[in-house]
């Protein structure tokens, strides 16, 4: 509880899981959920550093901004996903490979 490394460790786990999710999930929204995990892991890192770095509230501000960012990004991403669904009738990210060589 009072060890920075613990929090960093947890954040690392969350981050890795998030990356795993982004890389391996077929559903677009599932990929989005992985992204949320990543953001949250980063957030934990910020807050932890803020706490163990002399209670510097800069970390909090940044965390706030990250949350706002995540919200905006989720909104736009979901709009896109719905658009894709309307067009292709599926949100399987494997199907959206029009850029394939």
């Amino acid at each position: 509880m009072d060890q920075l490394n613990n929090y960093l460790f947890i954040a690392a786990i969350l981050f890795s899981l998030g990356v795993f999710g982004v890389m391996t999930r077929r559903n677009g929204i599932a990929v989005l959920m992985g992204v949320e995990l990543i953001l949250n892991a980063a957030n934990i890192n910020f807050i932890a550093f803020s706490r163990f770095g002399g209670m510097n509230l800069d970390g909090h501000i940044f965390g706030l901004i990250i949350i706002v960012l995540a919200a905006a990004e989720a909104a736009v991403a979901l709009a896109i996903v719905i658009n894709i669904y309307n067009n292709m009738n599926t949100i399987n990210v494997d199907e959206a490979s029009a850029l394939k060589e």
Binding site: M23, T24, V31, S97
Partner: protein, 682 residues
């Protein structure tokens, strides 16, 4: 008076050359095919020569000498000078050449009338005269050698005038090649002299030898080398084989070249180089000459062709002249050259007249089988051709050495010289024996010829009526030269028929040899003078013997020629077949050389050409094919195409990266980040 000689000499030299050029290029188109061009040119030459001769007589200076040189080749350290030398000997020689050449030209007008190459014949006569005069006027060995070769070329061209006949073409080739064999020695002699003395001019050479620049064996070898040229040109043993064959040429050519002038060039050369011959060289010269004299005479006695008899007679007489040079009395040699030119040319013209007549007669009777030159077909021409007969008789008396004729004087001088040589060098008794033996045989065969041709009953009665005298162009020279066979012309202003003392002996004075240690001219002359009377008696004796034997055999028929020839058996066969010289040369020299040449040619053609040269070709072909294959298969297929295929492979491989799927890209990015961080940590 001085320069006139040189100027005249230049004219005399180049006029016949001009005639040659005109005749060669324009002769056919000129009227009468241009014989007047040649005859005109040679007549002018004759006039100039006579003028020079008279000038010489008037001047009466035995030491007269004119020389004019110019540098022909100058390469800094090495230069060759050519030039003219006009001497008493030169003047006499020029006169001989001009006179006999003019006689030949005039004689040929009728003899060669209607010939298919009439103008070319006269052109070549002009070329020959030019070349012969070149030899006579030369003052150095180089220009003499050049004109020497030119004379050989003229001889080749003229002997082979009727080259459609294989025998003529072969004879011309033989003459030239045999000459060339002699010229090898000549050239070696010239080079030996040049390396020793450093100059080619006669005067420099004599000075050099006198001061000892060239001595001993080298000098002897040089002398013998130069003499080899004389051997080739003057048909001495063993290079005599070409002269009998040269009778294939027209008779005027035989008279001019092979009696009077060209063959005399060898003697002329010997006379010119006499001062530098060492005693050993002189011995070689004497023996060659003496042996040839006897040897050729022994062949002449059995020959049936009238021209062949005269040819061997020429070889024999040339042997006399060479013998004279060898024993030291070289002025006697030159004297004999002069008299021989006159009477031998006359004999040839006479035989030409006879042959011309025989041709005509056989043609009338449509007889193309009988040989017009065979004496066995003649006989009894004396009444039919009187001018020919009497002029030939005069010359025959001269050659046999009968007193009151020119030949007697010169032959006598030579024989006296040999006798004195034998007296001073006992052990060389063979030389006078050669001389007197040949004299006896000469008298015999010459009168045999006369008796067979002109006396007795005609052997071919069918044609005797058509035999008649020749036209005056042909009898003119006969009369002239017949007259010149009498002694008086040579002993003026003296009238002693037994002494050769006259303008000739006054003007042609022997010079001392420049070889230190040789006998001086005075000693030689003195010795000859003392032997003179003995020689005279013996020579008259042997001449009488020869003539009597011929008379007995052919006129009186007291001795039968047939029984004598069959009793002589082997000797007769050898003599008749000229001792099988040509056959032996062919067997032991020509054929092995041909075989060797064939073998070498085989090696070159079959082995070298086929395997080596063609092998290169095949090697190149194989190499090019291999390279081509390599280029195509390896470079083209593997490298060029391979690069393409590798690029294709890479492309296809890496194309799989572009899946178009976002998640793959994320994977790659993440993997990349990890790798970078791992690398960074090291």
């Amino acid at each position: 008076m001085e320069n006139i000689f040189i100027n005249y000499s230049i004219l005399i030299l180049f006029l016949p050359l001009a005639a040659f050029v005109i005749q060669i290029f324009f002769g056919k188109r000129l009227p009468r095919e241009g014989d007047w061009v040649s005859v005109g040119a040679i007549s002018i030459t004759l006039i100039l020569s006579i003028a020079m001769f008279i000038a010489m007589l008037l001047d009466h200076d035995p030491n007269f000498k004119q020389e004019a040189s110019f540098t022909w080749l100058d390469m800094g350290s090495f230069s060759i000078e050519l030039g003219f030398l006009v001497d008493n000997i030169t003047v006499i020689m020029l006169l001989i050449v001009a006179l006999i050449s003019t006689c030949s030209h005039v004689f040929s007008i009728k003899y060669m009338a209607g010939d298919i190459r009439y103008s070319r014949y006269f052109a070549y006569l002009g070329l020959f005269t030019f070349s012969m005069n070149g030899i006579v006027l030369a003052n150095n060995l180089v220009s003499m050698y050049m004109f020497w070769e030119l004379v050989g070329v003229s001889s080749y061209l003229l002997i082979g005038h009727w080259f459609e006949k294989d025998s003529s073409a072969d004879a011309a080739k033989k003459a030239f090649l045999t000459n060339r064999v002699g010229d090898i020695g000549f050239f070696i002699g010239i080079m030996l002299i040049y390396t020793g003395i450093g100059s080619f001019t006669f005067s420099h050479i004599f000075d050099g030898v006198a001061s000892g620049m060239l001595t001993g064996t080298t000098l002897t070898l040089a002398g013998v080398g130069l003499f080899m040229g004389a051997m080739g040109k003057s048909a001495q043993f063993p290079l005599h084989i070409w002269l009998p064959d040269a009778m294939e040429g027209p008779t005027p050519v035989s008279a001019l070249m092979h009696a009077a002038t060209m063959v005399a060039a060898g003697v002329y050369l010997s006379v010119r180089i006499f001062p530098l011959l060492t005693p050993d060289a002189l011995l070689v010269v004497a023996y060659v000459g003496g042996f040839t004299a006897l040897f050729a005479a022994s062949i002449a006695i059995t020959q049936n062709d009238i021209k062949k008899v005269l040819a061997y007679s020429t070889v024999s007489q040339l042997g006399y002249m060479i013998l004279a040079v060898g024993t030291g009395v070289y002025t006697a040699a030159f004297f004999h050259l002069l008299t021989h030119a006159m009477f031998k040319a006359n004999l040839f013209y006479g035989s030409g007249s006879v042959i011309h007549s025989m041709h005509h007669a056989l043609h009338e009777k449509h007889d193309h089988e009988s040989d017009p030159q065979d004496m066995r077909n003649m006989g009894g021409f004396k009444e039919k051709m009187p001018i020919t007969y009497w002029s030939m008789l005069l010359s025959t008396l001269a050659i046999a050495g009968v007193p009151l004729f020119s030949g007697f004087l010169s032959k006598d001088a030579i024989l006296a010289g040999t006798l004195s040589f034998a007296q001073h060098h006992p052990g060389h008794i063979l030389l006078p024996l050669f001389g007197f033996g040949a004299a006896a045989i000469t008298a015999f065969y010459m009168f045999r010829m006369m008796f067979l041709t002109f006396h007795g009953k005609p052997k071919m009665p069918s044609i005797i009526d058509d035999i008649h005298e020749s036209p005056k162009e042909m009898t003119g020279p006969l009369v002239l030269l017949g007259a010149l066979s009498i002694f008086i012309w040579y002993t003026l202003p003296y009238f002693n028929p037994l002494s050769s003392h006259g303008w000739f002996t006054d003007l042609v004075v022997p010079k001392d040899a420049v070889v230190p240690g040789n006998l001086t001219a005075y000693d030689i002359e003195d010795g000859a003078h003392h032997a003179h009377y003995l020689a005279m008696y013996i020579s008259i004796g042997v001449a009488a013997f020869g003539i009597l034997l011929a008379w007995a055999m052919y006129i009186k028929k007291a001795l039968s020629a047939e029984t004598w020839s069959s009793r002589a058996g082997l000797l007769y066969t050898l003599s008749f077949n000229k001792y099988y010289f040509d056959e032996n040369y062919n067997k032991y020299i020509y054929q092995p050389t041909f075989r060797l040449a064939n073998k070498v040619a085989w090696i070159d053609w079959e082995l070298y050409d086929k395997y080596f040269i063609n092998g290169f070709g095949r090697l190149t072909d194989w190499a090019s094919r291999v390279t081509g294959k390599f280029d195509f298969d390896v470079i083209d297929q593997i490298l060029v195409d391979g690069t393409g295929r590798i690029a294709n492979l890479f492309g296809r491989t890496f194309k799989t990266v572009q899946t178009g799927k976002l998640q793959n890209y994320v994977l790659y990015v993440t993997a990349g980040v990890i790798i970078i961080m791992v690398i960074q940590s090291f």
